[in-house]
């Protein structure tokens, strides 16, 4: 009896989740009348605007990941090592982006860093790009920090630090060559998740007027019929790839650890 209910719940869930995916996949193939074809994909992939915006978003994602790692890893490490009393407060700050909607944060950016402010970041394209990267880093902060902090929990930070120090290592060496390799899996998990978030992000890029992938998708959706479905399939594949890579590195790390 229990199993019947379990299968029913699972089945209903599966139908709800698979139908939209089937729907978008089928729709994306229907551009040519009467037959299935990859025309919509050819059209999308051949669009110079697609290549431009997608390249821009990939680049932004990579910068955000590097910045996020440089910001989060030393902080999480330092808090674990020297300031454990501060942990709840830091953790609270990292969770704030889940509370404050992205649209409110970016509204604040526009007000605070406009051309007539003390730090006119939105005045230049480079400045706005940097501001957008900071915005993305903020959005990814809850996931990045949690991943790294969980990774640090599994290693003995204090002993590793003392061992490295007694061999004459400085702080940079400790962080780059002792701590980072030990939490690499956690950092990679956070990085892939950051990538998935940044690549499709719409609100911040649109309101800061940057040529990112998210606003491009929205614009195409407002004007075309079949191409958006193809884009949705591509975006879904990217999200899936990012999650798959997270699983892969996690499993890989378990494998290597088991050999010791």
């Amino acid at each position: 009896m229990k199993q019947v209910w379990a299968w029913l719940a699972l089945g209903a869930g599966l139908i709800y989740f698979i139908l939209p995916l089937v729907g978008m996949a089928e729709f994306s193939l229907k551009m040519r009348r009467g037959v299935y074809s990859f025309d919509a994909y050819a059209k999308v992939l051949g669009d110079p605007k697609f290549q431009e915006t997608f390249g821009y978003s990939v680049l932004m994602a990579l910068f955000t990941i590097v910045f996020g790692i440089l910001l989060v890893v030393p902080t999480a490490y330092w808090v674990r090592l020297k300031l454990p009393g501060l942990r709840p407060y830091i953790e609270f700050i990292t969770l704030l982006p889940l509370v404050i909607p992205a649209i409110v944060i970016v509204f604040g950016y526009i007000r605070l860093y406009n051309t007539s402010s003390w730090l006119p970041l939105t005045g230049t394209a480079t400045g706005t790009n940097i501001l957008l990267m900071f915005g993305y880093a903020t959005l990814a902060l809850p996931y990045m920090y949690r991943a790294v902090d969980t990774g640090l929990r599994t290693i003995d930070v204090g002993t590793l630090t003392e061992a490295a120090q007694s061999l004459g290592a400085g702080w940079v060496t400790i962080l780059a060559r002792v701590i980072l390799p030990n939490v690499l899996v956690a950092v990679l998990s956070g990085a892939f998740l950051t990538f998935a978030i940044v690549i499709g992000e719409f609100t911040m890029a649109a309101l800061l007027n940057r040529p990112a992938f998210g606003p491009y998708m929205q614009l195409l959706g407002a004007n075309r019929a079949y191409e958006p479905a193809a884009l949705a399939v591509i975006a879904f594949a990217i999200t899936w790839a990012c999650m798959g890579l997270i699983q892969l590195v996690t499993r890989f790390s378990k494998h290597t650890r088991a050999q010791h």
């Binding site: 300031l83 409110v104 970016v106 007000r111 959706g221 407002a222 949705a232 879904f236």
Partner: protein, 290 residues
């Protein structure tokens, strides 16, 4: 020849310097921008204190927008919680084969991140005017969704779409809590003569109650702040708060910026309250689920 050990010098406590870059970042790009909005909501253009901006929210159209937003967020959070709980219970306690659990959790991770613009496209292609399901129902079963009153650009349409990321989020959050239900409790209950439903009603659900309500609050905030899906789905035709604020910031609607501050402030208050409930209830539920 050993030198006498140096006397330990009193040093200024400089440990806190290590977190300064992080705190500076959080201050500049998270706290100050938000504070700016909150303070702006109480300021006149000249800089004086006022409640006029908040009073500006009290128009028919803005009240309707908040109400519709709250209804959609609450409905999608409630349905998402119930269905997500059902699926999570099925894969943890329902006696399904073990191999289902892993892929299901991975898929939940994917689906909960598959929000925004592409999600809207997927639903348009499925139950939009010429979507897969719409056409199938019309041509094969003679059911016209539009004549039946269903419209994707409506309360139910948006709720149905939001469920695509709400249910997986519920599964991801509640599965650990369900794993925390100890077998001994179930056995103890059945030794004392409890039936299955009795065990759920009198033991399991009371224990899970704080985490269930807490996750409900989190899902509510999650839906309330969702902008991209709504805009890609409806353009600006649906009157909900995130779309209103987006138009206000873009300058599509020529109003004073201080009304924008007030709108944003209202959003912070609502998501803030929802999350405060979540944090408070999670702290309570952790007492049992260790």
């Amino acid at each position: 020849m050993t030198r006498p050990p140096e006397r330990p010098r009193k040093r200024l406590p400089l440990h806190w310097l290590g977190v300064v870059p992080f705190l500076l970042f959080a201050l500049l790009f998270l706290v100050l921008p938000t504070m700016n909005i909150v303070l702006g909501a109480f300021r006149t253009p000249e800089g004086g204190f006022t409640l006029e901006n908040l009073r500006g929210l009290n128009t028919q159209s803005i009240r309707n927008a908040y109400w519709l937003s709250i209804k959609i967020s609450f409905a999608s959070a409630l349905l998402g919680s119930v269905v997500g709980f059902g699926v999570a219970a099925a894969i943890t306690l329902g006696g399904l084969p073990k191999f289902i659990r892993g892929p299901m959790l991975t898929f939940s991770g994917v689906a909960s991140n598959f929000a925004g613009v592409p999600l809207a496209f997927a639903f348009l292609a499925t139950i939009g005017p010429v979507g897969l399901v719409t056409v199938f129902l019309r041509t094969q079963l003679g059911l016209d969704l539009r004549l039946m009153g269903f419209n994707l650009l409506s309360f139910w349409g948006l709720t149905l779409t939001y469920l695509f990321f709400q249910i997986p989020l519920m599964i991801l959050i509640i599965t650990p809590a369900l794993d925390g239900l100890k077998r001994e409790w179930r056995e103890a209950a059945s030794i004392l003569g409890a039936t299955g439903p009795q065990y759920w009603r009198m033991v399991a659900l009371p224990i899970l109650f704080p985490s269930l309500l807490g996750t409900l609050a989190l899902l509510f905030a999650n839906a309330f702040g969702a902008v991209a899906t709504a805009i890609a789905l409806t353009g600006s035709s649906l009157n909900i708060v995130p779309i209103l604020l987006f138009a206000q910031i873009r300058g599509d609607v020529l109003g004073d910026p201080h009304l924008g501050y007030a709108l944003a402030f209202g959003m912070i208050v609502i998501t803030g309250v929802a999350n405060a409930v979540y944090i408070w209830l999670r702290a309570r539920s952790e007492r049992w689920l260790k």
